[in-house]
Symmetry: C2
């Protein structure tokens, strides 16, 4: 990578590439992102910047309905020979959460293919003012000449009404075919929803999307995913090569005891063979000192282990990764005791990624 | 740790500790934090919730003046036998940055001593609304009976006008002597200022504060620390056992060439023997694809290495840690290409902490 950059710099110097002055009025050609390729959508249909067409699920509670219209996990794939990638976008008004950055909640996160690896190129910064919903930002500038394959993650916690990608006047920008062959749909809580990564590409789902090279729709909903019927309904309707579950972060031990078996049975009816991979939830660090929360976290994890033992025995192709989404023994892997930081996600991935990879490989998914 | 928690839970069950219902009106006894022990202050004097008494430095530019009145790096140390720790606090109005969480910028971050190790206990969440400057939050609840030694980090990016710690009516809360014997003052850029850790205890300076067990005043100022005279003035006035510098993140290569030698010479005059430890800045990930930024980052790092070679030769007890604040070869260690996430800080610490520890040990500082 270092050698490539050095080569680029040498080439740029030869070609006389110069930075454009900040004062210079930039003119971009904008294209509607929905005319390009949108990856990581669970289902077809509906407005392409919504992760699910919520009109199909009138049984959804209001907050889940709103959450599923967010662009969580979605990414735009395109090729351009522009040296600059810019964007302008608009979101539906929403309060900022205090345990997440505005960049995660409303910003964009760009990766460029460099010799088969997705390399972070830059973020699209939204306004940090809550009441401003129209944004415009130059994500990367002064790239080397030539064509770039780009993967642009959309905001994790916003419903977008528009997104346009800007390139230099005269440059090309075209939809690229999805680089992902198989599809693994991820279902879960606020942790899967991305809290509290710094930017949308750093949520564990987005990181797996790039590292495994599979399409990874994100159906994480903050405060939800308690093995509810309506989650099962969405999963039953969704075609995938495998499903990955963060299903034990929000339900109580009693809910797990009552609901897990039926939840799996319902999904199995719709998808008789599809691998279902459940990840144990991490020990809540809010229980480091709080005895009540510690006890609650322990009984939930026990219920999950107990329930999964039975489920794995009774159903084929069901897996339980335990330990699962653990954020580290030093108890410094979350922002608030519950939501992993980039550090916590990194640690959880060190545990779960090799196991997920092995299961997918066994089923010919990669 | 796990065994201790299990023991606590068993004890709590025996003693019939029950969670208080959310609806129950909690009555706390509040004490003014400035009557407790404030650690990590660079100098004596002034309002205890400001990290520096800025009136002493009329030569400071306005933004640096405001930044040095923030509570960045400060922590309150106290003992309490309360099972609950709450807080209420007020900040001077300020815009939120889009690359940081409100919890980092205005929140509190509590650690409790468990058998000699500082264990994360909980955060004090501020309002996520920019225009709300009065906050109140229960940071931890349901702790085991007995006395707890607490270390409460203050907001990284706010000037506080008041801070009160709340404990249960009838519980004791007293100032604890500082647990830190030696003092290492850290001087730097926005990276040292804490961007973009998730909470104030996760900035690399706060992490070193706990892991090295030394008082660590934080004089990081966003966008500043370009080897300026006024930074040297503050350092000359400040007594410390060592100084640690993140001095190459903001100046240009030309500024380093022009200013570094004189900067060190000026400090050396005031502190003839004190160890001065400079850390190389990380390669900017904004330069992953942007050839101009890549080139700029490279020339800055080269100027730093060149300048430090001369400085280390001419002055005694000057050290250069190179590589220094690097955030990882996968280029996923920052939020925006410049500011380390908790993951980036973790990686940087893996490089610099053993080296800092070795230098401090050599000088009898620990």
């Amino acid at each position: 990578m270092k050698r490539i950059i050095v080569a680029f710099v040498a080439l740029a110097t030869l070609l006389g590439v110069q930075p454009l002055s900040a004062a210079e009025k930039r003119q971009f050609k904008y294209v509607d992102a929905t005319t390009l390729t949108i990856v990581n959508r669970a289902q077809e249909g509906g407005f392409l910047l919504n992760r699910i067409e919520t009109e199909k699920y009138p049984q959804l509670p209001g907050p889940s309905m709103r959450a599923l219209r967010m662009s969580t996990g979605l990414a735009v794939v395109f090729r351009t020979n522009s040296r600059v990638v810019s964007a302008r976008w608009t979101n539906v008004p929403r309060r900022y959460g205090n345990n997440m950055t505005p960049i995660l909640q409303r910003g964009l996160d760009l990766y460029v293919d460099v010799e088969g690896r997705w390399v972070f190129a830059g973020v699209g910064r939204p306004s940090s003012r809550e009441d401003v919903t129209k944004h415009s930002y130059t994500i990367v500038d002064n790239m080397a000449e030539g064509e770039h394959l780009c993967l642009l993650y959309l905001p994790m916690w916003s419903e977008l009404t528009s997104l346009e990608i800007g390139v230099e006047e005269g440059a090309s920008i075209v939809a690229a075919p999805s680089p992902f062959k198989h599809k693994v749909v991820v279902v879960g809580s606020s942790i899967t929803h991305g809290a509290s990564a710094t930017r949308s590409g750093m949520c564990y789902v987005s990181r797996l999307n790039r590292s495994l090279g599979v399409d990874m729709p994100n159906i994480g909903i903050s405060g939800r995913c308690k093995l509810d019927d309506y989650f099962a309904d969405i999963i039953c309707d969704t075609k995938a090569d495998a499903f990955l579950f963060d299903a034990f972060s929000n339900p109580t031990a009693e809910q797990i005891d009552e609901r897990l078996y039926g939840f799996v049975a319902k999904i199995r009816k719709a998808h008789p063979e599809t691998p279902l991979i459940f990840m144990q939830t991490g020990a809540r660090e809010t229980g480091n000192l709080d005895l009540v929360r510690h006890e609650r976290s322990t009984t939930v994890r026990e219920a999950a282990a107990r329930g999964m033992a039975k489920v794995c025995k009774d159903f084929k192709n069901v897996y339980f990764i335990n330990p699962g989404l653990d954020t580290g023994a030093d108890q410094d892997g979350t922002i608030d005791g519950a939501h992993p930081s980039d550090l916590g996600f990194d640690r959880a991935l060190k545990i779960v990624e090799p196991k997920i990879r092995k299961i997918l490989k066994k089923h010919g998914i990669k």
